[in-house]
Each structure stands twice: as C-alpha cells, then as structure tokens.
C-alpha cells in the first residue's frame, strides 16, 4: 500500500521483514478508513440534506442534484413558519448556557474552596453528596423535578432549566476543583492569612486566579452540558418563544410535513458553537473533560 521511505539503511533489510511492515501499515490504513467512514456518515447525511432544495427532500439522492444554500438562508432569515423564532431560541440556548457556566463556576468553586482549602468540618458529606449526584442519571429525577417546578409556577421558564443544568454540572465542578486544588500549596493561604487577608480575599485573589485552567475546563464542560441536554429542556419549556433550539429541533421530528432540509440546516447552525469551542479549547479540555463530559 504505502511506499516505505527508502533511506540507505533499509535497502538491505530482509524482504520478509519489509513485507510484514507493509502489511501492518496497510492494516492500519484500512482501520483508519473504516473509522473515518463510521465517523463521517451521519455528518455527511446532515450536510447533504441541508444542501437539498426544498421539494427535493424526498428523493433517493446520495448527494443533492442541485446543491444550494437555500435552506441555510431560510434559517438565517427565519423564512419559514416553523423557524419564526429561531434566533430567539438560539438566544435562549445561549442564555441557559452562559447562566449555567457562571453559576456552576461560582457555586462549585465556593464549595470546594470551603471544603478543601478551609477544611470545613463535615465537608466530606457534601463531597459525597456531589459524587452521588454525579453517579445517578439525571433523568431519574426528571418527573418529580417537573412537578416541583410546576408547584412553584416555574415551568416554561428558562430559570427552571438553568436550575436543572446547574444541579447536574456542579458535582463535576466540585471534583475537578478539589483535585486540581491539591496542586496549589496551602502555604499560600497560610501566608495570606498571616498578612491579614480575609477568606473572601484569599478566595478571590489567590484561589481563583490559580484555578484558572480548571475554571476554563469546567466552564466549557458546563456550557457543552447545557447545549447537549435535552430531557429537562423538553419537559420544562413548552412555548415557542421560551424554547431552546434543542427542543425546537426535536419538535420538527414530530411534525407531519417535516421540512428536513431546514431542520438539518438549523441543526448544523446549532452545532457550530460547541464544536468551535471544543476545538479552540481542546488542549485545556481533554485534560479536564476526560472523566465527565458525558452526563446526558
């Protein structure tokens, strides 16, 4: 398959060795091609359907005969009744995402500062509570959570969704902060305390700046969690103006005349921010995210 680089030294190698090497390389290439196809087929399908012209959606094309960006334009201009609130819904998704990030970072860092730096008595109880929340699937709480929000009159309110996302994002934040915090010497806190710094100052001036990498990792995680989550948004948000894009997209599925090309175009637009953020923060995140980016 692939040609081996033939520098002077390899010419003399025994042919059998080379054959084996080439076979190995060919096998690796075959695996690589398989992995690539497996990964790209659903993505290809998204793009192909989005490029289809309206009216050509129900065809057997493998690739649209006349690819056009029409459906992206329709989504951008909200030119279809189903998409009338698209950008508003996009704003809602963003609002939920940003609020989740801010609250998760704040609540998580305060709690882990108190537990692992100030060593509050019985702090381990909270750590274990967080661990339990992390381990239990969030969907198990969905029905009672909905009922409670209903009692408070908070259904169809973005803040009920934010509450749910924060609840399931903070446990991960607490683990990562506690673990990362181990690498920050406690002597720094002691020194600051002797100089008369109050706990708030230690938290704000010493703890938070030193935790910056962990904050970035957890913040990205929280944003992606809010962007990925579907069940709570689907249950709690019902009116078109208050929906997030995830809910609106899924609603398309159940409509009879499904404009699939518009749907895929909006799905692609919705997917751009997390993918972009992921690739921008990739280095930072792989470290932090490896153990928990999946709660869904």
């Amino acid at each position: 398959m692939t040609a081996q680089p033939m520098d002077g030294g390899t010419v003399r190698r025994r042919p059998r060795y080379r054959l084996r090497r080439n076979l190995k390389e060919a096998a690796a290439l075959a695996v690589g091609v398989l992995v690539l196809i497996w990964t790209l087929v659903p993505l290809y399908n998204m793009v192909a359907v989005a490029l289809e012209k309206h009216g050509n959606v129900f065809s057997n094309d493998i690739w649209p005969k006349q690819p056009s960006l029409e459906s992206f334009w329709i989504v951008f201009t909200q030119g279809y009744w189903y998409l009338a609130d698209f950008w508003h819904q996009f704003g809602n998704s963003l609002y939920v995402g940003v609020a989740t990030v801010v609250l998760t970072l704040l609540i998580g860092s305060l709690a882990s500062f108190s537990i692992s730096r100030m060593r509050i008595r019985h702090g381990w109880v909270l750590s274990n509570a967080a661990l339990m929340t992390y381990v239990i699937p969030s969907s198990f709480l969905a029905i009672p959570f909905y009922r409670i929000m209903q009692n408070y009159g908070l259904t169809n309110n973005l803040w009920s969704v934010i509450a749910a996302e924060v609840t399931f994002a903070t446990p991960y934040a607490i683990f990562i902060f506690q673990q990362y915090g181990v690498s920050i010497p406690r002597e720094l806190d002691e020194a600051a305390r002797i100089d008369g710094a109050s706990p708030v100052q230690i938290y704000w001036r010493i703890y938070l700046p030193l935790m910056a990498p962990a904050l970035v990792a957890v913040g990205t995680y929280a944003l992606l969690l809010a962007w990925n989550e579907y069940l709570y948004q689907y249950l709690l948000l019902s009116s078109s103006r208050n929906m997030t894009v995830a809910v609106a997209l899924a609603q398309f599925l159940n409509s009879d005349e499904a404009p699939w090309n518009y749907m895929m175009a909006s799905a692609i637009i919705y997917a751009v921010p997390p993918v972009a953020i992921y690739y921008i923060c990739r280095r930072r995140m792989t470290a932090g995210l490896t153990m928990g980016g999946v709660k869904g």
């Binding site: 029905i143 607490i174 990925n228 980016g293």
Partner: protein
Amino acid sequence: MPTPQALAAGSIAVSRPGPPRWRLPLPGSELAWAIAFVIPYAAVFLAFVVYPVAYGLSLARDPSLYVDLVSDPLYARTVINTLLFVALGVNVKMFLALLVSGFFMRRRWWIRALLVVYILPWALPSVPAFVSFHWMLIGEYGFLDSLLSALFGIEGPIWFNDRWLALGADVVSYIWKWLPFWTLVFLAGRMAIPREIYDAADVDGATGPRRFLHVVYPLLANMYLVCTLLSTLWTIGDFTTVSLVSGGAPARSSEVLATLGIHYAFDVGVPSLGVAAVLSALPVLIPVAAILMRRLQMREVQL
C-alpha cells in the same frame, strides 16, 4: 491541570475527613465564611436533588403501582429493551473504545489528523446527531436505504417498522455518539503507562496481541471496570437517544425505561406510574452506584 492520566485512572478525589490532627479549628469569623461558602451548593443539593428524590419516592410509594406495572405487557417489553440497550450499548462501546484507543497510540501524522476528526461526534450536540440518525433511517428516502440501493441494488428495510431493527438503530447511534469520548479516556490511560514497561515487554517478546493481553489489559483493567460501571449508570438513564432515534417506534415496542417513564407521566398522565417505572431500575442501580462510589473514592491511581 489535572492530567488526563490521573483523571482517566478513576482517581476523582473526594476529600475525606482528612487527618484531623493537622487541622486547627477555624476561628469564629472564618468559620462563618466557610459555612457561607458551602451554603449555595448545599441549597442546590437540598432543593434540586434531595427534595425531588423524596417527592419521587412519596409519589411512587403505593405498592399497587408496581402491580400495575408488572401486569402491563409494555413494561415487560421495555425492561427487555433496556437490558439489551444497556448491555450491548455499553459493552460494545467500551470494548471498541479500548481497541480503537490502541490504534490511536500509533505515531503517524495521519493518525493524529484522524483523531481530530474522530472526536467530532462527541463535540456535536446530541439532538442534531440523533436527528440525523433518525432521518438517515427513515425508510426509502433515508440516506442508508438510498445508499444500499445505489451501491448494491438492495431494497433496504423500513428500519422503524421492526422492533429489533429500531432498537439496533438506537444502540448504533448511541455507540456512535459516545465512542470517541471513551476512546479519549482509554487513550489517556494508555499514555499513562510508562514507556519502559512497553520496552521491557518488547524485550521479553510480548508484542501485538500478547502485549495487549499481558501488559495493557492488566494495567487498564481497573479503569475499564470503573468506566464501564459509570457508563452503565448513565446509559440506564439515557432518554435522548431512544426518544429521538427510534422514538419508541413501532408502536412503543422499542422504548426503554427512561422514555417509558416520561410516556407514562406526560402522555398517559399518571406521574406516579412514571416514577414507579423509573424507580424499578433501582435494584440494579443502587449496587452499581455503591461499587462505583467506593472505587471513585479510592485516592490512589491504579497505574
């Protein structure tokens, strides 16, 4: 940054009481601050975890609910579906992830480039991903059947007209979405194995499958177990995949417990039955959660 290795090895740290003899009691004003700092999280935990749990338990405390459940043929079918979905989805995914992570250990520029593409399903939000799967399998207009007829001239099946095909589609979509994530975890685990161990194994003649069996596998076994348990719990609660890919079609025969619970609570309108359906997974859930919490609390990295 916590290294991926440390995280990957299941070393999520939970500060246990800690050696109390080191600790001076916090002076009064500091204690007040310390308490003030944990109040937000304690409030979130009480209001949004403890309260819903208690409320759910009180909703589903009537034993007759469980009699209703068991007598519903839909429930029995759903339990089988859930078992299959979790057993196949989790195990196939984890095993593939372990194998594929070995592939990505190779040092070739094109394999590195491939890794960047390979991560895409994980970065992609789940709703667009599963919607795409749904449309791909929708029937004769779907991409897969179009492809089958264009390439081989076969008329593909109508995937969501058959319980097992629909469930299979759910499992495959689920694996597609989450395989990259666990591959990264195992990749991090493999990277944490010191180079010298490989070299020593090489000298002793352990290469290829033997190296995997006698070197890599024993070193990663604990991590593999922890990850599998964690993934099992999350998968039992997975609502999105089944809800969007097959939607329970045909005729609610491919539902899993998470979607059935929501169906009972919101379509049928009996929340207590919905909670009962979900809670009936507790006998499996609690032991797994208990093992997992013990494992995750272990401070030492097993590598």
